[in-house]
């Protein structure tokens, strides 16, 4: 996995309700922003396609380190944008809960963690492409690796503050116990970062218009290796 998904019963009822409320508020903001933009049928289908690829990709085990499952959430953020990407990760979480990959009650907290990956992935990629002038691979890698690192730390913070049901450990001891999975998730996040970097480079070569919107505000073309290879 590229990050841990909490299962039902891990958090107490109060925290389950709290994170559902936070997720609902964030999804509400995303829907309000889409309503303001008057999202087209095309954009909606594109985001749905992104979500379906995210779910389908998860069904494949990548034979690295004994088998990994990826979520591709930062990539969905890069391709679909923050608002539609937010709806896409909620839908991915709904489907995931249906098949046992993360619980129903903790969809709220899992969605908040995934939303952070979408938003961080989107804004870091955009910043690196438009302001730092990094190439697509480096931007995609940095966006996904940083997003997944931050989300792994977020998981530690969320669980440390909320505590695990039935555990008698305090916040500090709980956080201490979670550093191992945080380190593991960060390691896997680096692999997903590499994968995201390759995918955006590939998409940039084959169908650059898919990245047009996120790279639009570039004033000067960055030193993109892919572009040089194509002579453009």
């Amino acid at each position: 996995m590229a990050h841990i998904h909490l299962e039902d019963g891990a958090l107490s009822p109060i925290w389950v309700i709290f994170w559902w409320a936070v997720a609902a508020a964030l999804i509400g903001v995303a829907m309000w922003s889409l309503k303001r933009e008057r999202v087209s049928t095309r954009k909606m289908t594109v985001a749905a396609m992104c979500a379906s690829v995210g779910i389908a990709a998860f069904m494949v085990t990548i034979p690295v380190f004994g088998g990994l499952h990826l979520n591709l959430t930062p990539l969905i953020g890069i391709l679909a944008g923050p608002a539609l990407g937010s709806l896409a990760v909620l839908i991915i979480n709904l489907f995931s809960a249906a098949v046992g990959h993360g619980g129903w009650g903790v969809i709220g907290v899992n969605t908040v963690v995934n939303l952070s990956e979408v938003l961080i992935g989107y804004y870091i990629y955009r910043t690196f492409r438009t302001r730092v002038n990094l190439n697509r691979f480096a931007s995609g890698f940095s966006a996904a690796a940083l997003a997944l690192t931050i989300s792994a730390l977020m998981v530690v913070a969320i669980i440390a503050v909320a505590g695990i049901q039935d555990s008698h450990l305090d916040e500090e001891e709980t956080a201490h116990n979670l550093w191992l999975i945080a380190a593991m998730n960060i390691g896997v996040g680096l692999i997903e970062g590499g994968l995201t970097g390759y995918i955006v480079s590939f998409i940039g070569r084959i169908k650059p218009d898919l990245l047009e919107e996120i790279e639009r505000s570039r004033e000067k073309r960055p030193p993109d290796e892919d572009a040089h290879k194509k002579g453009g």
Binding site: E7, D8, A48, S52, I62, H69, I164
Partner: protein, 276 residues
């Protein structure tokens, strides 16, 4: 198609085609239960495993979920494989707690100056989380594998805001094509004698190519689909083919009983009556 699916590339995640096959083609007493009743029961199972703290009661909920799954004539052998990821998620989360949770030491290992001890409370914590997760996974799969697509459309339209329901249902429909696309690409890699066991860098590059193709084709398809939908007068709402009727009185009684259980569990937990 009754035991496994050719299209599935992992035993750990249920294949969408297999889920649909059981939902649309199989008949059982659970398939005939009203979808609203099953959705409500899922809500109560999730709420109960979150609220209940007693291990024995949690085990009873799990046995109930397993019985529900078996009554739906769903494959028990495959369910064992589908437990793998939920177990991995639970164990990676709580494995350290088994050693650090305060309690009576059950086993102790000393390696030089390092002492590792398993405590009773640590094991109970892990066991409870495993039972909770498996109860919900089992019940959720049973619900998902016994509700037909037309009823999913109706429930999604009733429960979710418009744009979210539309996106959810589009994703559901696209999932078959995109999962086929990815498995076709993996088939192509295998058929060209593409060895799946390589160095990390080569693996990453190969899978990046597969997923990138899937995304590019998905975007192309999205263009075609959206044009076709608009040409047919799509206004943003999925048509409802069949409404889900109201549950029968005896099903309402079951949901009522679950409500009572939940209220009792809440009272018991927050008035401090229940033991750990």
């Amino acid at each position: 198609m009754t035991d496994t699916s050719r299209r599935s590339y992992t035993k750990h995640v249920p294949d969408i085609r297999l889920i649909t096959h059981y939902a649309e083609k199989t008949d059982s007493i659970i398939h005939r239960v009203n979808p609203w009743t099953k959705a409500a029961m899922l809500f109560f199972i999730v709420a109960l495993v979150t609220v209940v703290m007693d291990f024995l009661l949690l085990a009873v909920i799990y046995v109930f979920a397993l019985g529900f799954y078996a009554a739906a004539k769903l494959p028990l052998k495959l369910l064992v494989g589908w437990y793998f990821l939920p177990l991995v998620f639970v164990l990676t989360l709580v494995i350290m707690f088994v050693f650090t949770e305060p309690g009576t030491e059950i086993a102790r290992l000393t390696i030089g100056t390092l002492v590792i001890a398993v405590t009773d409370n640590g094991l109970i914590l892990m066991a409870k989380l495993v039972v909770r997760a498996l109860a919900v996974v089992t019940f959720s799969l049973a619900v998902f594998m016994t509700i037909s697509y037309k009823h999913v459309v109706y429930i999604a339209r009733r429960l979710m805001p418009g744009p979210l329901a539309t996106m959810f249902l589009l994703t559901y429909r696209f999932l078959y094509v995109t999962s086929d696309e990815i498995t076709d690409l993996l088939d192509a890699v295998h058929s060209k004698n593409g060895n799946m066991v390589r160095g990390m860098l080569k693996q990453t590059k190969m899978f990046a190519g597969i997923f990138a193709h899937a995304f590019i084709h998905a975007f192309d398809r999205a263009d075609r689909v959206s044009k076709a939908m608009e040409a047919r007068g799509f206004t943003g709402d999925f048509p409802i083919v069949e409404r889900v009727s109201a549950p029968r009185p005896r099903e309402i009684a079951v949901v009522g009983a679950l409500t009572v259980f939940l209220v009792l569990a809440l009272v018991s937990r927050y008035s401090g009556m229940e033991g750990g």
